[in-house]
Amino acid sequence: MSTEDTFDLDTAWGLTAQVSVRPERFGALLYHFGTRRLSFLKSPVLLEVLTGLAGAPTARDACTRAGVAAAELPAYRTALASLAASDMIRERS
Protein backbone atom coordinates (compact mmCIF):
# COMPACT_ATOMS: atom_id res chain seq x y z
CA MET A 1 0.00 0.00 0.00
CA SER A 2 1.56 3.32 -1.08
CA THR A 3 1.74 6.28 1.28
CA GLU A 4 0.36 9.45 -0.21
CA ASP A 5 2.78 12.15 0.90
CA THR A 6 0.38 14.66 -0.56
CA PHE A 7 -2.47 13.83 1.85
CA ASP A 8 -3.68 17.14 3.23
CA LEU A 9 -4.53 16.99 6.93
CA ASP A 10 -5.51 20.63 6.89
CA THR A 11 -8.52 20.39 4.65
CA ALA A 12 -12.03 19.05 5.13
CA TRP A 13 -12.74 15.36 4.55
CA GLY A 14 -15.72 13.04 4.78
CA LEU A 15 -16.76 9.44 4.32
CA THR A 16 -17.71 8.50 0.76
CA ALA A 17 -21.47 7.93 0.47
CA GLN A 18 -21.19 4.37 -0.85
CA VAL A 19 -19.14 3.23 2.13
CA SER A 20 -20.65 1.14 4.91
CA VAL A 21 -18.92 1.38 8.27
CA ARG A 22 -19.30 -1.45 10.72
CA PRO A 23 -17.82 -0.83 14.19
CA GLU A 24 -15.99 -3.81 15.69
CA ARG A 25 -14.20 -4.42 18.96
CA PHE A 26 -10.86 -3.99 17.25
CA GLY A 27 -11.85 -0.90 15.29
CA ALA A 28 -14.08 -1.25 12.27
CA LEU A 29 -14.77 -2.85 8.91
CA LEU A 30 -15.34 -0.60 5.92
CA TYR A 31 -16.96 -1.82 2.74
CA HIS A 32 -17.22 0.30 -0.42
CA PHE A 33 -20.27 -0.76 -2.44
CA GLY A 34 -18.95 0.83 -5.61
CA THR A 35 -15.41 -0.55 -5.69
CA ARG A 36 -16.25 -3.66 -3.61
CA ARG A 37 -13.16 -3.14 -1.52
CA LEU A 38 -13.03 -4.10 2.10
CA SER A 39 -10.86 -2.26 4.62
CA PHE A 40 -10.06 -3.28 8.09
CA LEU A 41 -9.45 -0.54 10.66
CA LYS A 42 -7.29 -1.78 13.50
CA SER A 43 -7.94 1.10 15.87
CA PRO A 44 -11.11 2.27 17.64
CA VAL A 45 -9.55 5.75 17.78
CA LEU A 46 -9.19 5.73 14.00
CA LEU A 47 -12.90 4.89 13.78
CA GLU A 48 -13.64 7.89 15.94
CA VAL A 49 -11.51 10.07 13.66
CA LEU A 50 -13.45 8.75 10.69
CA THR A 51 -16.87 9.43 12.13
CA GLY A 52 -15.74 12.87 13.21
CA LEU A 53 -14.40 13.87 9.79
CA ALA A 54 -17.67 15.17 8.36
CA GLY A 55 -18.26 17.50 11.31
CA ALA A 56 -14.70 18.77 11.61
CA PRO A 57 -13.18 21.68 9.65
CA THR A 58 -10.04 19.67 8.96
CA ALA A 59 -8.80 16.09 9.25
CA ARG A 60 -6.17 17.29 11.73
CA ASP A 61 -8.97 18.70 13.84
CA ALA A 62 -10.88 15.41 13.74
CA CYS A 63 -7.72 13.61 14.92
CA THR A 64 -7.27 15.99 17.84
CA ARG A 65 -10.89 15.63 18.88
CA ALA A 66 -10.54 11.85 18.81
CA GLY A 67 -7.57 12.08 21.18
CA VAL A 68 -4.73 11.42 18.76
CA ALA A 69 -1.45 12.63 20.28
CA ALA A 70 1.01 14.63 18.19
CA ALA A 71 3.49 11.75 18.15
CA GLU A 72 0.84 9.42 16.75
CA LEU A 73 -0.29 11.78 14.02
CA PRO A 74 2.01 10.44 11.28
CA ALA A 75 0.54 6.95 11.65
CA TYR A 76 -2.98 8.35 11.42
CA ARG A 77 -2.02 10.46 8.43
CA THR A 78 -0.75 7.32 6.69
CA ALA A 79 -3.99 5.56 7.53
CA LEU A 80 -6.12 8.42 6.22
CA ALA A 81 -4.00 8.58 3.10
CA SER A 82 -4.64 4.92 2.31
CA LEU A 83 -8.36 5.40 2.94
CA ALA A 84 -8.33 8.28 0.50
CA ALA A 85 -6.40 6.19 -2.03
CA SER A 86 -9.11 3.53 -1.90
CA ASP A 87 -11.86 6.18 -2.11
CA MET A 88 -13.22 5.38 1.35
CA ILE A 89 -12.94 9.09 2.20
CA ARG A 90 -13.12 12.14 -0.04
CA GLU A 91 -12.35 15.82 0.26
CA ARG A 92 -15.35 17.94 1.12
CA SER A 93 -15.84 20.96 -1.09
Partner: protein
Protein backbone atom coordinates in the same frame (compact mmCIF):
# COMPACT_ATOMS: atom_id res chain seq x y z
CA UNK B 1 -2.22 -7.54 15.74
CA UNK B 2 -2.37 -9.69 12.65
CA UNK B 3 -5.65 -10.00 10.77
CA UNK B 4 -5.72 -13.72 11.42
CA UNK B 5 -5.71 -13.11 15.14
CA UNK B 6 -8.59 -10.66 14.87
CA UNK B 7 -10.79 -12.86 12.78
CA UNK B 8 -10.30 -16.37 14.09
CA UNK B 9 -12.31 -15.62 17.21
CA UNK B 10 -15.30 -14.56 15.16
CA UNK B 11 -17.28 -11.39 14.61
CA UNK B 12 -20.73 -10.21 15.67
CA UNK B 13 -21.90 -10.64 12.10
CA UNK B 14 -20.45 -12.36 9.05
CA UNK B 15 -18.53 -10.17 6.63
CA UNK B 16 -20.16 -12.02 3.77
CA UNK B 17 -21.82 -15.39 3.37
CA UNK B 18 -22.93 -17.98 0.89
CA UNK B 19 -26.62 -18.32 0.35
CA UNK B 20 -27.81 -21.34 -1.57
CA UNK B 21 -31.25 -20.35 -2.79
CA UNK B 22 -32.42 -23.68 -4.17
CA UNK B 23 -31.33 -27.28 -4.54
CA UNK B 24 -32.90 -27.36 -8.00
CA UNK B 25 -30.48 -27.43 -10.89
CA UNK B 26 -30.61 -28.01 -14.62
CA UNK B 27 -27.21 -29.74 -14.44
CA UNK B 28 -25.80 -32.69 -12.50
CA UNK B 29 -22.12 -31.89 -12.10
CA UNK B 30 -20.27 -34.92 -10.80
CA UNK B 31 -18.54 -32.98 -8.02
CA UNK B 32 -21.45 -30.84 -6.83
CA UNK B 33 -20.69 -29.69 -3.29
CA UNK B 34 -24.36 -29.39 -2.44
CA UNK B 35 -25.52 -32.60 -4.17
CA UNK B 36 -28.05 -30.50 -6.03
CA UNK B 37 -30.56 -31.42 -8.72
CA UNK B 38 -34.03 -31.56 -7.26
CA UNK B 39 -35.81 -28.76 -5.46
CA UNK B 40 -36.57 -29.38 -1.80
CA UNK B 41 -40.27 -28.92 -0.94
CA UNK B 42 -39.31 -27.05 2.24
CA UNK B 43 -37.35 -24.29 0.56
CA UNK B 44 -37.67 -20.77 1.96
CA UNK B 45 -40.51 -18.77 0.42
CA UNK B 46 -40.04 -15.36 -1.19
CA UNK B 47 -41.32 -13.71 1.99
CA UNK B 48 -38.97 -15.76 4.14
CA UNK B 49 -36.03 -14.91 1.89
CA UNK B 50 -36.80 -11.21 2.17
CA UNK B 51 -36.92 -11.56 5.95
CA UNK B 52 -33.42 -13.03 5.81
CA UNK B 53 -32.25 -10.08 3.71
CA UNK B 54 -33.76 -7.71 6.26
CA UNK B 55 -31.72 -9.43 8.96
CA UNK B 56 -28.55 -9.27 6.92
CA UNK B 57 -29.11 -5.56 6.41
CA UNK B 58 -29.57 -4.99 10.15
CA UNK B 59 -26.42 -6.97 10.87
CA UNK B 60 -24.56 -5.07 8.15
CA UNK B 61 -23.52 -8.20 6.30
CA UNK B 62 -21.90 -6.49 3.33
CA UNK B 63 -22.25 -9.12 0.69
CA UNK B 64 -23.95 -12.39 -0.18
CA UNK B 65 -22.74 -14.96 -2.65
CA UNK B 66 -25.90 -16.50 -4.00
CA UNK B 67 -25.71 -20.00 -5.38
CA UNK B 68 -27.45 -23.33 -5.18
CA UNK B 69 -28.15 -25.56 -7.19
CA UNK B 70 -28.79 -23.14 -10.00
CA UNK B 71 -30.22 -20.05 -8.30
CA UNK B 72 -31.63 -18.47 -11.46
CA UNK B 73 -34.18 -21.25 -11.85
CA UNK B 74 -36.10 -19.88 -8.87
CA UNK B 75 -38.96 -17.80 -10.30
CA UNK B 76 -38.34 -15.08 -7.68
CA UNK B 77 -34.58 -14.96 -8.23
CA UNK B 78 -34.35 -11.53 -9.90
CA UNK B 79 -36.83 -10.07 -7.42
CA UNK B 80 -34.68 -11.29 -4.51
CA UNK B 81 -31.48 -9.91 -6.04
CA UNK B 82 -33.13 -6.51 -6.41
CA UNK B 83 -34.47 -6.69 -2.88
CA UNK B 84 -31.01 -7.43 -1.50
CA UNK B 85 -29.30 -4.59 -3.37
CA UNK B 86 -32.11 -2.20 -2.39
CA UNK B 87 -31.38 -3.12 1.21
CA UNK B 88 -27.64 -2.51 1.31
CA UNK B 89 -26.60 -6.09 0.76
CA UNK B 90 -24.25 -6.56 -2.21
CA UNK B 91 -24.81 -9.61 -4.40
CA UNK B 92 -22.65 -11.88 -6.42
CA UNK B 93 -24.45 -14.87 -7.84
CA UNK B 94 -22.88 -18.07 -9.09
CA UNK B 95 -24.52 -19.62 -12.14
CA UNK B 96 -23.94 -22.16 -14.90
CA UNK B 97 -25.19 -19.47 -17.28
CA UNK B 98 -28.46 -21.02 -18.34
CA UNK B 99 -30.57 -17.87 -17.85
CA UNK B 100 -28.01 -15.24 -18.88
CA UNK B 101 -29.69 -14.17 -22.09
CA UNK B 102 -28.55 -11.05 -24.01
CA UNK B 103 -31.46 -9.11 -22.50
CA UNK B 104 -30.69 -10.28 -18.99
CA UNK B 105 -27.01 -9.49 -19.51
CA UNK B 106 -27.89 -5.93 -20.58
CA UNK B 107 -29.97 -5.41 -17.45
CA UNK B 108 -27.17 -6.73 -15.27
CA UNK B 109 -24.61 -4.51 -16.97
CA UNK B 110 -26.82 -1.47 -16.49
CA UNK B 111 -27.18 -1.97 -12.76
CA UNK B 112 -24.83 -1.64 -9.80
CA UNK B 113 -23.97 -3.87 -6.86
CA UNK B 114 -24.57 -7.16 -8.63
CA UNK B 115 -21.67 -9.31 -9.71
CA UNK B 116 -21.96 -12.48 -11.77
CA UNK B 117 -19.86 -15.62 -11.56
CA UNK B 118 -19.99 -18.21 -14.33
CA UNK B 119 -18.89 -21.73 -13.40
CA UNK B 120 -16.53 -23.52 -15.75
CA UNK B 121 -14.40 -26.60 -15.09
CA UNK B 122 -12.63 -27.12 -18.36
CA UNK B 123 -11.03 -24.79 -20.90
CA UNK B 124 -12.35 -27.11 -23.57
CA UNK B 125 -15.78 -28.69 -23.95
CA UNK B 126 -14.20 -32.11 -23.66
CA UNK B 127 -12.72 -31.49 -20.22
CA UNK B 128 -15.57 -29.34 -18.95
CA UNK B 129 -18.47 -31.49 -20.04
CA UNK B 130 -16.92 -34.64 -18.55
CA UNK B 131 -17.61 -33.05 -15.16
CA UNK B 132 -20.53 -30.72 -15.78
CA UNK B 133 -22.46 -32.62 -18.45
CA UNK B 134 -22.99 -32.43 -22.22
CA UNK B 135 -23.68 -28.93 -23.49
CA UNK B 136 -22.65 -27.18 -20.29
CA UNK B 137 -19.52 -25.69 -21.82
CA UNK B 138 -21.56 -24.14 -24.60
CA UNK B 139 -24.07 -22.72 -22.12
CA UNK B 140 -21.30 -21.13 -20.05
CA UNK B 141 -19.50 -19.61 -23.01
CA UNK B 142 -22.71 -18.24 -24.42
CA UNK B 143 -23.44 -16.53 -21.08
CA UNK B 144 -19.93 -15.04 -21.13
CA UNK B 145 -20.42 -13.78 -24.67
CA UNK B 146 -23.70 -12.16 -23.67
CA UNK B 147 -22.19 -10.47 -20.65
CA UNK B 148 -19.21 -9.22 -22.63
CA UNK B 149 -21.43 -7.95 -25.46
CA UNK B 150 -23.57 -6.12 -22.92
CA UNK B 151 -20.51 -4.34 -21.55
CA UNK B 152 -20.43 -6.12 -18.20
CA UNK B 153 -16.72 -5.85 -17.41
CA UNK B 154 -15.10 -7.87 -14.67
CA UNK B 155 -17.61 -10.66 -14.15
CA UNK B 156 -16.04 -13.81 -12.72
CA UNK B 157 -15.22 -17.10 -14.36
CA UNK B 158 -14.92 -19.59 -11.53
CA UNK B 159 -13.07 -22.87 -11.96
CA UNK B 160 -12.70 -25.79 -9.56
CA UNK B 161 -9.19 -27.11 -10.08
CA UNK B 162 -9.12 -30.84 -10.82
CA UNK B 163 -6.65 -33.41 -12.03
CA UNK B 164 -8.19 -33.06 -15.49
CA UNK B 165 -7.97 -29.28 -15.82
CA UNK B 166 -4.85 -28.49 -13.79
CA UNK B 167 -2.89 -28.23 -17.01
CA UNK B 168 -5.27 -25.68 -18.52
CA UNK B 169 -4.64 -22.73 -16.23
CA UNK B 170 -3.20 -20.48 -18.94
CA UNK B 171 -6.12 -21.39 -21.18
CA UNK B 172 -8.60 -20.43 -18.47
CA UNK B 173 -6.89 -17.09 -18.13
CA UNK B 174 -7.16 -16.61 -21.88
CA UNK B 175 -10.89 -17.33 -21.77
CA UNK B 176 -11.40 -14.83 -18.96
CA UNK B 177 -9.37 -12.22 -20.83
CA UNK B 178 -11.28 -12.83 -24.03
CA UNK B 179 -14.57 -11.91 -22.35
CA UNK B 180 -13.26 -9.13 -20.14
CA UNK B 181 -13.78 -11.28 -17.07
CA UNK B 182 -11.67 -12.08 -14.02
CA UNK B 183 -10.53 -15.65 -13.45
CA UNK B 184 -11.18 -17.37 -10.18
CA UNK B 185 -9.63 -20.74 -9.27
CA UNK B 186 -10.95 -22.64 -6.28
CA UNK B 187 -10.21 -25.85 -4.48
CA UNK B 188 -12.07 -29.10 -5.02
CA UNK B 189 -13.39 -30.41 -1.74
CA UNK B 190 -14.63 -33.94 -1.07
CA UNK B 191 -18.06 -32.52 -0.24
CA UNK B 192 -21.48 -33.48 -1.54
CA UNK B 193 -21.06 -35.52 -4.71
CA UNK B 194 -17.44 -34.43 -4.58
CA UNK B 195 -16.88 -37.24 -2.11
CA UNK B 196 -17.64 -39.80 -4.82
CA UNK B 197 -15.07 -38.44 -7.27
CA UNK B 198 -12.45 -36.91 -5.02
CA UNK B 199 -9.99 -39.78 -5.30
CA UNK B 200 -9.86 -39.52 -9.09
CA UNK B 201 -10.35 -35.79 -9.46
CA UNK B 202 -8.31 -34.04 -6.79
CA UNK B 203 -5.00 -32.68 -8.09
CA UNK B 204 -1.86 -34.74 -7.64
CA UNK B 205 0.86 -33.43 -5.34
CA UNK B 206 2.87 -32.31 -8.36
CA UNK B 207 -0.11 -30.48 -9.81
CA UNK B 208 -0.78 -28.82 -6.49
CA UNK B 209 2.78 -27.47 -6.37
CA UNK B 210 2.50 -26.24 -9.96
CA UNK B 211 -0.80 -24.57 -9.13
CA UNK B 212 0.77 -22.77 -6.19
CA UNK B 213 3.64 -21.49 -8.34
CA UNK B 214 1.21 -20.39 -11.02
CA UNK B 215 -0.95 -18.52 -8.50
CA UNK B 216 2.09 -16.70 -7.12
CA UNK B 217 3.02 -15.70 -10.66
CA UNK B 218 -0.41 -14.29 -11.36
CA UNK B 219 -0.78 -12.34 -8.13
CA UNK B 220 -3.94 -10.35 -7.68
CA UNK B 221 -5.11 -10.95 -11.24
CA UNK B 222 -6.55 -14.34 -10.31
CA UNK B 223 -8.93 -14.71 -7.39
CA UNK B 224 -9.04 -17.80 -5.19
CA UNK B 225 -11.63 -17.13 -2.52
CA UNK B 226 -8.78 -17.89 -0.12
CA UNK B 227 -9.52 -21.55 -0.80
CA UNK B 228 -5.85 -22.53 -1.10
CA UNK B 229 -4.67 -21.26 2.25
CA UNK B 230 -3.33 -24.76 3.01
CA UNK B 231 -0.72 -24.09 0.32
CA UNK B 232 0.82 -21.34 2.45
CA UNK B 233 2.88 -24.14 3.94
CA UNK B 234 4.96 -24.11 0.73
CA UNK B 235 6.30 -20.68 1.71
CA UNK B 236 4.78 -17.35 0.79
CA UNK B 237 1.08 -17.05 1.54
CA UNK B 238 -1.36 -16.23 -1.24
CA UNK B 239 -3.50 -13.08 -0.96
CA UNK B 240 -6.43 -13.39 1.41
CA UNK B 241 -7.06 -13.90 5.11
CA UNK B 242 -5.32 -17.28 5.00
CA UNK B 243 -7.53 -18.86 7.58
CA UNK B 244 -10.68 -20.94 7.65
CA UNK B 245 -13.54 -18.47 7.78
CA UNK B 246 -16.24 -21.01 8.56
CA UNK B 247 -18.41 -19.89 11.45
CA UNK B 248 -16.05 -17.03 12.13
CA UNK B 249 -16.42 -14.51 9.33
CA UNK B 250 -18.57 -16.48 6.87
CA UNK B 251 -21.16 -19.23 6.81
CA UNK B 252 -23.79 -20.86 4.60
CA UNK B 253 -27.55 -20.42 4.56
CA UNK B 254 -29.04 -23.33 2.64
CA UNK B 255 -32.32 -23.47 0.66
CA UNK B 256 -34.37 -24.73 3.59
CA UNK B 257 -32.90 -22.17 5.96
CA UNK B 258 -30.34 -24.40 7.60
CA UNK B 259 -27.20 -22.55 8.65
CA UNK B 260 -23.94 -24.43 8.19
CA UNK B 261 -20.38 -23.37 8.98
CA UNK B 262 -19.60 -23.31 5.26
CA UNK B 263 -20.94 -24.58 1.91
CA UNK B 264 -18.33 -27.34 1.87
CA UNK B 265 -19.57 -28.71 5.16
CA UNK B 266 -23.22 -29.55 4.57
CA UNK B 267 -23.54 -32.18 7.26
CA UNK B 268 -25.20 -32.42 10.69
CA UNK B 269 -21.76 -32.13 12.24
CA UNK B 270 -21.53 -28.52 10.98
CA UNK B 271 -25.18 -27.53 11.28
CA UNK B 272 -25.53 -24.49 13.52
CA UNK B 273 -29.30 -23.95 13.41
CA UNK B 274 -32.10 -22.75 11.14
CA UNK B 275 -33.22 -19.24 10.20
CA UNK B 276 -36.84 -20.21 10.81
CA UNK B 277 -36.08 -20.61 14.51
CA UNK B 278 -36.67 -18.03 17.20
CA UNK B 279 -34.28 -15.15 16.74
CA UNK B 280 -33.72 -15.95 13.08
CA UNK B 281 -30.32 -15.94 11.49
CA UNK B 282 -28.82 -13.45 13.94
CA UNK B 283 -29.50 -15.74 16.87
CA UNK B 284 -27.89 -18.69 15.10
CA UNK B 285 -24.79 -16.68 14.17
CA UNK B 286 -24.32 -15.25 17.63
CA UNK B 287 -25.41 -18.06 19.92
CA UNK B 288 -25.04 -21.44 18.27
CA UNK B 289 -22.89 -23.91 20.12
CA UNK B 290 -21.15 -25.01 16.95
CA UNK B 291 -20.01 -21.50 16.11
CA UNK B 292 -18.91 -20.81 19.68
CA UNK B 293 -16.84 -23.94 19.41
CA UNK B 294 -15.27 -22.91 16.10
CA UNK B 295 -14.49 -19.47 17.55
CA UNK B 296 -12.63 -20.84 20.53
CA UNK B 297 -8.89 -21.46 20.26
CA UNK B 298 -8.32 -24.45 18.01
CA UNK B 299 -5.77 -27.08 18.92
CA UNK B 300 -3.38 -28.06 16.19
CA UNK B 301 -3.38 -31.57 17.60
CA UNK B 302 -1.06 -33.72 15.55
CA UNK B 303 0.05 -30.65 13.58
CA UNK B 304 1.36 -28.49 16.38
CA UNK B 305 4.90 -29.79 16.10
CA UNK B 306 5.07 -29.05 12.40
CA UNK B 307 7.00 -25.92 11.39
CA UNK B 308 4.38 -25.09 8.77
CA UNK B 309 1.39 -25.08 11.12
CA UNK B 310 1.46 -21.32 11.61
CA UNK B 311 1.01 -20.88 7.87
CA UNK B 312 -1.43 -23.59 6.94
CA UNK B 313 -3.32 -23.75 10.25
CA UNK B 314 -4.13 -27.38 9.65
CA UNK B 315 -5.93 -26.75 6.37
CA UNK B 316 -9.57 -27.28 5.50
CA UNK B 317 -11.99 -28.66 8.04
CA UNK B 318 -14.39 -29.97 5.39
CA UNK B 319 -11.62 -31.67 3.42
CA UNK B 320 -10.54 -33.48 6.57
CA UNK B 321 -14.03 -34.38 7.66
CA UNK B 322 -15.22 -35.90 4.38
CA UNK B 323 -12.05 -37.92 3.85
CA UNK B 324 -12.48 -39.41 7.29
CA UNK B 325 -9.48 -37.66 8.82
CA UNK B 326 -9.52 -36.21 12.35
CA UNK B 327 -10.13 -32.46 12.49
CA UNK B 328 -7.12 -31.88 14.74
CA UNK B 329 -4.64 -33.28 12.26
CA UNK B 330 -3.34 -32.74 8.74
CA UNK B 331 -5.34 -31.79 5.68
CA UNK B 332 -5.68 -34.67 3.16
CA UNK B 333 -3.67 -32.54 0.74
CA UNK B 334 -1.12 -31.39 3.29
CA UNK B 335 1.81 -30.19 1.22
CA UNK B 336 4.23 -32.13 3.37
CA UNK B 337 2.37 -35.36 2.71
CA UNK B 338 1.26 -35.90 6.30
CA UNK B 339 -2.37 -36.16 5.25
CA UNK B 340 -1.81 -38.65 2.49
CA UNK B 341 -0.02 -41.00 4.86
CA UNK B 342 -2.91 -40.82 7.28
CA UNK B 343 -5.55 -41.44 4.60
CA UNK B 344 -4.47 -45.04 4.19
CA UNK B 345 -5.54 -45.71 7.77
CA UNK B 346 -9.08 -44.42 7.27
CA UNK B 347 -11.82 -46.99 7.01
CA UNK B 348 -15.00 -44.96 7.31
CA UNK B 349 -15.94 -41.69 5.68
CA UNK B 350 -18.98 -39.53 6.56
CA UNK B 351 -21.54 -38.89 3.89
CA UNK B 352 -23.38 -35.58 3.49
CA UNK B 353 -26.95 -36.55 4.22
CA UNK B 354 -29.00 -33.94 2.31
CA UNK B 355 -28.84 -35.41 -1.15
CA UNK B 356 -30.95 -33.61 -3.75
CA UNK B 357 -29.31 -35.26 -6.72
CA UNK B 358 -31.44 -36.04 -9.73
CA UNK B 359 -32.41 -39.68 -9.55
CA UNK B 360 -29.96 -41.94 -11.36
CA UNK B 361 -27.15 -39.40 -10.85
CA UNK B 362 -26.16 -41.05 -7.69
CA UNK B 363 -27.61 -44.30 -6.53
CA UNK B 364 -26.78 -47.23 -4.31
CA UNK B 365 -23.89 -49.41 -5.36
CA UNK B 366 -25.36 -52.24 -7.47
CA UNK B 367 -25.81 -55.25 -5.26
CA UNK B 368 -24.49 -58.40 -6.82
CA UNK B 369 -25.23 -60.94 -4.14
CA UNK B 370 -28.37 -62.82 -4.96
CA UNK B 371 -31.70 -62.04 -3.38
CA UNK B 372 -32.53 -65.41 -1.93
CA UNK B 373 -35.07 -66.42 0.61
CA UNK B 374 -33.49 -67.92 3.73
CA UNK B 375 -33.49 -71.70 3.78
CA UNK B 376 -35.78 -71.79 6.73
CA UNK B 377 -38.73 -69.36 6.90
CA UNK B 378 -38.14 -68.67 10.57
CA UNK B 379 -34.46 -67.83 10.11
CA UNK B 380 -34.07 -64.13 10.93
CA UNK B 381 -30.70 -63.59 9.40
CA UNK B 382 -30.84 -62.34 5.83
CA UNK B 383 -27.45 -63.95 5.32
CA UNK B 384 -28.68 -67.40 6.31
CA UNK B 385 -27.92 -69.93 3.63
CA UNK B 386 -25.52 -67.69 1.73
CA UNK B 387 -22.60 -69.77 2.89
CA UNK B 388 -20.40 -66.88 3.99
Amino acid sequence: MKLVEQFQYGLDAPICLTWELTYACNLSCVHCLSSSGRRDPRELSTVECKAVVDELERMQVFYVNIGGGEPTVRPDFWELVDYATDHHVGVKFSTNGIKITPERARRLAAGDYVDVQISLDGATAEVNDAVRGPGSYAIALRAMENLAAAGFAGFKVSVVVTRQNAGQLDDFLAIADRYGAQLRLTRLRPSGRGADVWDELHPTAAQQRALYDWLLDHGERVLTGDSFFHLAAYGEALPGLNLCGAGRVVCLIDPVGDVYACPFAIHDEFLAGNVRGDGGFARVWRSSELFADLRSPQTGGACTSCSAYDSCRGGCMAAKFFTGLPLDGPDPECVKGHGERLLSTVDEKPRSAPDHSHRRTRGPVPVTIGMRRPDRACDESPLAGLGR
